[in-house]
Subunit: 456 residues, 2 copies
């Protein structure tokens, strides 16, 4: 049996590895086509490599092509798949290095081509200091650019989502003067509610990042093949390097051409086993697929490494003759700006409204440890609960010092469709170095319960 995988990062290599774990080389041949020159790397780690917290690119690589090859996976780097023929069951790939062409037959195909950064027309300038942040190759290019002489001094980051915020911090750590442009009224507007986003904005400004909200970009000015400025209706911002954090889109051009079904989010549609809908032996996983949001029942596109790994694993187990499913997501995410941690799960107020929910919110300020214990830091917890039923719809945390990872308890509560009133009784861990005697999560659940009662 022959397995072909398109894309050699988290989803594709997880699928390949799991299939290999179940079927030996005699039972299954595995060929992976990867356009770039790395496999199984942490794209999420790129901002920390740029910022210097991680000192070596190779640390971001969980498993090298050589390691995969030793495990019996034929990884072909520098190979771009340009065609999928579902009738003949083969893919056509170009060897980008030598211009050669490869036709590779398959019994099983895993489509794991990832996502591509959103690039407005004006940003499509090559080798000019304008970067998306998606692949390890992108990270290398940014590093090289920042090391040029004369060294870039002014950075403009466009977009205030995760990547934008993380890259803005990275640039500050590199000593650049950083401006972040966000079209929304505050950064992380898609991630958290405005009141929580305001806390993030304040923290970014405290870092020395110039945060410009409600911003619009008209275009770029270049000179001698290098970006020189970002042009906005409010004036021209000097820029020696521009980073785009405008989100990503599923990379599905090839899939659409071959007839793979694409959903309303732009992602490929799969069933719970990550099999492409309606197609036998064709699987998809990672940033190129859509999945189900368990609190709305609707399809969503959530490009995150953790989902990509799980989905790839599920596909690989099923290809290998096992049984596994990926039931969906509830929208958990976490990041930090310097020492300010930001986390969310479930739906934001805006998302809950869009889904048709009527809801109440409760926001509490508490501390990460007992107030009297050294290192206790303020943390803010916001809960969103359905009116009347009290169903936990969403949660957001902003704080310092071990605040953010507490979102996991809330994620598991939302996953299990708990009500905020049930949550007030939860047996969460308590000791002074770890929490106040009423954990902030419990205080928030109490306040949300009162809000639900008031909504009856």
């Amino acid at each position: 049996m022959k397995l072909v995988v398109i894309g050699g990062d988290a989803a594709g290599m997880s699928a390949a590895s799991q299939a290999r774990k179940r079927l030996g080389p005699d039972e299954l041949s595995i060929v992976v086509f990867e356009r770039g020159h790395f496999t199984s790397y942490s794209a999420c780690g790129i901002p920390y490599w740029i910022g210097g917290a991680v000192d070596d690119r190779d640390k971001l690589v969980a498993r090298t092509p050589e390691e995969h090859r030793k495990a019996g996976i034929d990884v072909r780097l520098g190979h771009e798949v340009v065609g999928i023929d579902l009738d003949r069951r083969e893919v056509l790939a170009h060897n980008l290095d030598d211009g050669g062409e490869v036709r590779q037959p398959f019994d099983h195909l895993v489509y794991a081509a990832g996502a591509t950064p959103v690039m407005p027309e004006w940003a499509r300038v090559r080798d000019a200091g304008v970067f998306g942040v998606q692949t390890l190759g992108d990270g290398e290019a940014i590093h090289a650019w920042l090391d040029r002489k004369p060294e870039p001094r002014n950075a403009v980051v466009i977009g205030g989502g995760y990547i934008g915020v993380e890259m803005a911090e990275a640039m500050v750590l590199r000593g650049l003067k950083v401006t972040l442009l966000d079209k929304a009224p505050q950064p992380m507007g898609k991630t958290v509610d405005p009141d929580m986003g305001a806390l993030v904005q304040k923290s970014m400004r405290g870092l020395g990042i110039e945060v410009v909200t409600d911003a619009h970009v008209d275009g770029l000015e270049t000179e001698g093949g290098r970006v020189r400025a970002v042009v906005t209706p409010d004036g021209t911002l000097p820029a020696d390097v521009v980073v785009l954090g405008l989100g990503v889109r599923p990379n599905t051009a090839l899939a659409k051409e071959a007839g793979l079904p694409v959903g309303s989010t732009g992602g490929i549609r799969t069933d719970l086993r990550m099999r492409v809908e309606g197609l036998e032996g064709v699987w998809a996983a990672g940033d190129c697929v859509e999945t189900q949001h368990l609190l709305t029942g609707r399809p969503v596109h959530v490009p995150l490494g953790t989902h990509a790994n799980k989905q790839g694993r599920v596909a690989g187990i099923n290809i290998g003759g096992g049984y596994a499913t990926f039931p969906g997501v509830i929208g958990t995410a976490v990041t930090k700006v310097c020492d300010l941690e930001v986390a969310r799960t479930g739906l934001t107020s805006k998302e809950a409204h869009a889904a048709g929910y009527s809801f109440v919110t409760a926001t509490v300020d508490s501390t990460s440890r007992a107030g009297y214990y050294p290192g206790a830091e303020l943390m803010t917890v916001k809960l969103i609960a359905e009116r009347r039923t009290g169903l936990l719809l969403g949660a957001q945390i902003v704080g310092r010092n071990e605040a953010a990872k507490r979102i996991d308890a809330l994620a598991v509560a939302a996953w299990n469709r708990m009500t905020v009133e049930e949550m007030t009784a939860l047996d969460l861990s308590y000791a002074p170095p770890f929490a106040p005697v009423w954990d902030p999560v419990l205080i928030a659940a109490r306040k949300a319960t009162e809000a639900v009662h008031a909504s009856l």
Copy 2:
């Protein structure tokens, strides 16, 4: 209407405060009898006050008697209740300061007399440097003893549970030479499985604590009214101060005398609303009650401040005319030894076995952050899952740097009766500063799932 509360710490004052919140002074009078001289303090914080992390006793007091009085709660310090007359509906209290006697009638009674440290016969020596650690008064006495001249140099801590381990650390931080005697083969034997306890023991020894396991104590040697040594079958250990961490028992002598029902654990039996079983208008909460373990259905006695607060709150809401329940516990707890964090939820292997479960275990070593991210530290996660069904029965975490609080996600999973296979799909937060792309909890769930499959 008249409410009398016996005991002015977490449970009693939570009940009083919640009742007061719902009923004003015209509707409800509230009298609290407290034997000591503090209210609403964090007993769990005492070791950190002794060790110096908390510099001031008053920081441990969440609410002073004066603050409660201002809120309309008549707190009587130095008053020991010596009799409860359920027929006449009154309590008899002694004023310990002036020898006076008070008869106080009630419509509602809250029994929140807490627990008392287990004290073997040989330990019942007054003013000799032998201490239990239960009340803020105990903490004061220890502080005063350590400040005596000549300063104590050798400390022996007897018992390797939370209090023993925390007090051993506190004594090291005070510069004493510390020996911890535990009758079990490793410290924290009631809290975690032996393999996890071995990690704790190693860490304690690294701190310079002499840990003696399988230990027995024959008695104490005193000289001139001061303890001088602890006598064991293996020799005599010099001791200028002895701390007992042999656990606590529900303080129910008075309750039993009055006819309140006491269960097999020694704790008072209540219903879910914290009403004493079979008695109208009589409530109990905190370290003196037993509660239900949600994973065994059996009564347990779990004396923890977090439960005391919740139970007191529930009692107070119900007394005040509201509705609230305390459904039970699943055995979550957390502590630390210097920078080694230890957490648990659900059942240990021993407890699961005693409850009649057949189970598998899975232990994984991972890191608290992405392996390449600064500050990533080893953490060990152990899961206990029911054979065949895969029901999560228990979890234990030992690690550093934000490892322990992750137990909460596992606690919520166990609370919701998830299986380890369901847990492999959980949408937990991921970003390199907060977790590897496979969170240690997910890796453990994967391994436990494999163990469950193998048990089919």
